[in-house]
Subunit: 192 residues, 2 copies
């Protein structure tokens, strides 16, 4: 089989990410977000926020990480961060990533599986920044959408502050701005 | 205002691309595709097909082009390529791009407006490849979805071959594989 045929099969398989439903609604929309459009949104957001990373990042690597970061959800589904990251879910996502990348031409998968693992580990400079950006859109959705997902999932403000404070690992400046908005949401009664 | 606030406004504005409906349905889904998830799909497809470009490309520039290539549709809406690219639509898209990027911190817009113009012009090596990749998913949607969009929009096979043959400008190898699939679709009666 022509290697291009393999890539076309991969392109068809990843269409399924457009059918993975997340837990927040995009600003102004009544439906829930899917993981494919979310992936685009975080890639472009990472590009526009790159100057505010704590340490010099390689934005091209960050964008590649974010393009693939949710592909494991095709098999594992989306999990809200407030539910905690169980070992079982992570194993399912890893198996999913390996299955999806196995569709690529021979020798192409390893580079991307490694990039995905680096993101998951969240320890490199690029991964810390990518993970920080990944947390921002759900905050905007809630802040601009009356805290709908916090309410629907009974997430108390302590948990919102605690789990999102990890944004500071990638960008202290960004977290400071968001913390201000979350404090205002508490005053306004949107976040309880 | 803190420049990060400007970027957060930009991130909120581009959410609207998730509500721009395209003319094909993703493989396996009953709903139409939106331009945000499409943008993700072409970025990742471009990455995986990069070795098949006619000339050496800068994949990082290509991905950035494709991340932003449809932002003008927030104001102009999506147009099927078979409808022809009128001057009026292109002007509306350009005005839209400029409006959306004007939300960014001072001095940040020009670089991206220039990248968008390069894509639209389609003459640089990177733009020719990016434009080629942009045409592939609608073909896959039709090929795997009984030619639904060709039928719905009364697109004859001559037009499908003629307009998509431009894929060869970015990747002859890719066009050759797709041409084979289109020929089979004609034999199968999916493309008339």
């Amino acid at each position: 089989m022509n290697p291009i045929e393999h890539v076309l099969e991969f392109m068809t398989e990843i269409e399924k990410l457009k059918d993975v439903q997340r837990k927040t609604r995009p600003v102004g929309l009544n439906r829930y977000e899917n993981s494919a459009e979310h992936s685009w949104h975080v890639c472009l957001s990472a590009l526009m926020l790159k100057d505010y990373a704590n340490e010099p990042i390689n934005i091209d690597r960050v964008i590649k990480m974010l393009l693939i970061h949710d592909l494991g959800e095709i098999d594992a589904g989306d999990t809200i961060i407030y539910a905690g990251e169980t070992k079982e879910i992570k194993e399912k996502e890893e198996a999913g990533i390996k299955r999806v990348f196995s569709l690529l031409p021979v020798g192409k998968a390893d580079e991307y599986i490694s990039l995905w693992s680096e993101f998951e580990l969240g320890e490199s400079v690029d991964a810390k920044y990518a993970k920080a950006i990944d947390r921002v859109p759900p905050l905007l959705h809630n802040l601009k959408g009356e805290g709908h997902s916090w309410k629907d999932n009974n997430v108390p403000k302590e948990k919102v502050f605690y789990l999102n404070s990890r944004i500071a690992k990638g960008s202290t400046a960004l977290w400071n701005v968001l913390k201000g908005k979350l404090n205002k949401a508490v005053v306004d009664g949107i976040l309880k």
